[in-house]
Symmetry: D2
Subunit: 292 residues, 4 copies
Amino acid sequence: MDAPSPAMILLSATLLIYCPDRKGLVAAVTDFISRHDGNILHLDQHVDTQENVFFMRVEWDLATFQMQREDISPRFAEIANSFDMTWQLHFSDAIPRMAIFVSKESHCLYDILYRYQSGEWQVNIPVIISNHPDMGDLAAKFGIPYRVVPITKDTKPQAEQAQLALLDEFKPDFVVLARYMQIISENFVTHFPNRIINIHHSFLPAFAGAKPYHRAHGRGVKIIGASSHYVTAELDAGPIIEQDIMRVDHRDSVEDLVRKGKDVEKLVLSRAIRYHLNHQVLVYNNKTVIFA
Amino acid sequence: MDAPSPAMILLSATLLIYCPDRKGLVAAVTDFISRHDGNILHLDQHVDTQENVFFMRVEWDLATFQMQREDISPRFAEIANSFDMTWQLHFSDAIPRMAIFVSKESHCLYDILYRYQSGEWQVNIPVIISNHPDMGDLAAKFGIPYRVVPITKDTKPQAEQAQLALLDEFKPDFVVLARYMQIISENFVTHFPNRIINIHHSFLPAFAGAKPYHRAHGRGVKIIGASSHYVTAELDAGPIIEQDIMRVDHRDSVEDLVRKGKDVEKLVLSRAIRYHLNHQVLVYNNKTVIFA
Amino acid sequence: MDAPSPAMILLSATLLIYCPDRKGLVAAVTDFISRHDGNILHLDQHVDTQENVFFMRVEWDLATFQMQREDISPRFAEIANSFDMTWQLHFSDAIPRMAIFVSKESHCLYDILYRYQSGEWQVNIPVIISNHPDMGDLAAKFGIPYRVVPITKDTKPQAEQAQLALLDEFKPDFVVLARYMQIISENFVTHFPNRIINIHHSFLPAFAGAKPYHRAHGRGVKIIGASSHYVTAELDAGPIIEQDIMRVDHRDSVEDLVRKGKDVEKLVLSRAIRYHLNHQVLVYNNKTVIFA
Amino acid sequence: MDAPSPAMILLSATLLIYCPDRKGLVAAVTDFISRHDGNILHLDQHVDTQENVFFMRVEWDLATFQMQREDISPRFAEIANSFDMTWQLHFSDAIPRMAIFVSKESHCLYDILYRYQSGEWQVNIPVIISNHPDMGDLAAKFGIPYRVVPITKDTKPQAEQAQLALLDEFKPDFVVLARYMQIISENFVTHFPNRIINIHHSFLPAFAGAKPYHRAHGRGVKIIGASSHYVTAELDAGPIIEQDIMRVDHRDSVEDLVRKGKDVEKLVLSRAIRYHLNHQVLVYNNKTVIFA
């Protein structure tokens, strides 16, 4: 048996930071932690030398940290301000709330529900929202509220209002489009900036938009892919979080590409969700820094 | 939407053949098909020049084939005998029955049940057998009979008798060990030669046996893998059907290898099952020919 | 030592065929071979069910074949005509002549010259043509004629005429653009239809055209790729022969993508050349069938 | 054109450190750098929580660093001693000297020579040593001294003495076995601890020792691999630096595995050499930490 021993939730804090690069940034942050007896568990940093921007993720053990939890944010703010930092602070015992949007395809939803139920992820799923009733049975099997908001071309704005009302009710921290297949309006996106994760069934930027597998087949590609990205106003053009590929050949019909692609889509989406859950993603200039 | 149109089950016949290589083999088989107005859908052949063995898989449309279904086998036998062929004949409307053995891990079972429920596979699952009750709820969600046969070191022979009795009752065509984690006796294997599919959580032949991820971590490998194979009397030494890998690095703990490995295991096992279901596998000399 | 024993050139014939699909095609071709005591070494076929086109590659041993070599073509033509086949016949002892075009980058040229010199490929390289003198020393080391044809925006047509004159002199069977970096005119392409192999340094159709790595970096992709294709009149839009990819991340600068990409480019181009040398490629509808 | 602008050699210093983990390590090192106006270019750290060992690589710009180059080592030693660190200090303008051992196979040597000549690597190659004359012409083409030291079963100790004498003459910093195919004695290894890089043509620990492709073929694996590692006294059991794989199938003969494997071998070895050249490798407990 390889099963790990029951997960002990280690109480830790994680800082995600970016700011103009200058000398002394790492020293300032790590000194803040070590001065109060914090032990660093993970530290990763990156400098975009072209844009002169500094990125950092640091996670430290709170067990020995000599500071009240509620004091960390105001005390760190002093350092952050002096370096003009944009920053987030997360605690490991806060379980994020993830809303899921689906349509009729089940492969991504199954993969997510397995990770949720098996305890692979520390996450709550307050609601699954769909424009179709098809996945209702599956949601019910896992005891998750399922809400259907039908959408037609004419009712799209009202449907989005209904969806936003549901999100207001269930209060997710972020939204996952698990093959939702509907275009999200710019207005909707502004409610969850860099907090809507989509899976697109192509190797972006190739085949953005509709029917990517049909177009991949038409072009005779030898490899197909999937891309998970944060949703922005422009279709399939948001910051890419994760991508992966699968080899195909002339024997594969469009249906084969669809089938094979599903295996890539579900893994790519689930990896992107994991990065987001673990606060391993920073978005800058429509690109992501992934502290993997 | 990329969803394929509802699958029309094309009625076809598939021949799997191996025999000593000699001239005229392909011509003899394809002439048998074309002489009776059959249209070949797929044909693949392979010659092991070292062993001088010929392998072939051919699938043809029965719509126009001028022979009663029940006549195909006796008529083809004449050709087969003249070439000393070992062969199987399958019809596309025969839905195979697959029994599943599990222990406490759910990732492979979820992946299988998704493909079963979504219609990706044409398969029946008459029973799930386990040495633990843990997966009973999941089986129940999908309406599949679940039988628990506890196993201790002392009761292994009796437990296997009970399992064989269950298989006798549910009459599967083949058995899948979906991370079952128990060693199968030689006696058990003889009941299902080349019809028990296992998933081993390493890149065989590296790390055969127990705790492969612990050993991979100890060795400091940069890539982990999973291998699906037919079970033979020798542990983890049967014919390999499919393998795949995932990159890891020094930051990955044993628990990370276990977690990342699950994503490889479930895909590798499901691909192996698909090959078996589609009659794409020939076993020879403890190796497989995969007509992919 | 894993070195194979000295390659014995087995004398074989290879037929590449495509035609409208109908019953009896495989039987007709294999009967032609077996009737004259030919032993099939490899046979692969494919049916594009959407377009109703049949593709086939068959290679057979000439040692026992009861037909003069010069008779094969006229005799097979009778069968070919009756099925409306487009076809090619190749003999294994004909060593193809490959002209190489380069610019200033050496990675693909090194990889090609290694395979040429080590005997991995059966190929002659009558000439290397470039718009720059940079690779002349490398060509000289391998004793291959090197011709420089400078190109400016204004002299492009004349330069292409000079190149065509060189090709007329050195009589290659096909041309490889080993990172040549110049756009080939439609007129030039018509002289070598499906016989000019290019390597494009992106995962086509993403980033066709100039500076693909800069654009990949700007888009923040997590994977880069390379694509080898036959050159057609439309830039980077010809039939794809082979593609492969490499994972990158936010730490990779444009220069890193360029460097990492070179390793993919050279392998993808060399695999495509190998397919072409072995007569494993059929082009149809701007796509390739690769009999690998 | 994607070619980077001519490389400006940025003058930087790199520290590689490991020591027992404790609080304040990152702060102490980064404070040392920032206190003297050094700007950190790259910082990566890792904690082996099982062994309680801390690993770190930090590279900083010397342009603004307010300390004489020769003072850095003695000044940092004070910090290092207080934390019980094992450490190395490297400067970016020191060009490492790499000796190469070869036998009769050319693929790895070509790949290395391309990177050397094209300027991809900052490295000197003072000598190539072989037990056969075969690669002498290739070495001559690149103007590198080539020395032949024949080896028979009976003369192995003397041959190694002759090799060591050559290394004493040419004074390499490290040695690359580019498919050298001879077992190195324990005595030889002690002269270059963690400074002899080998490429083994299998996915270690599978198929350590002789004829790995033959054994991979016999086992019927679906994937082959290559592993680059530091040589230790135990055959093919040293710390793994890099691994990669390639998919194969039943159609691949042993010769095909040998041929396909070469493409993996050369890339894996060259990646391992690059990590070593860039001081990105720390060895601990027979495993590597790769600061990629």
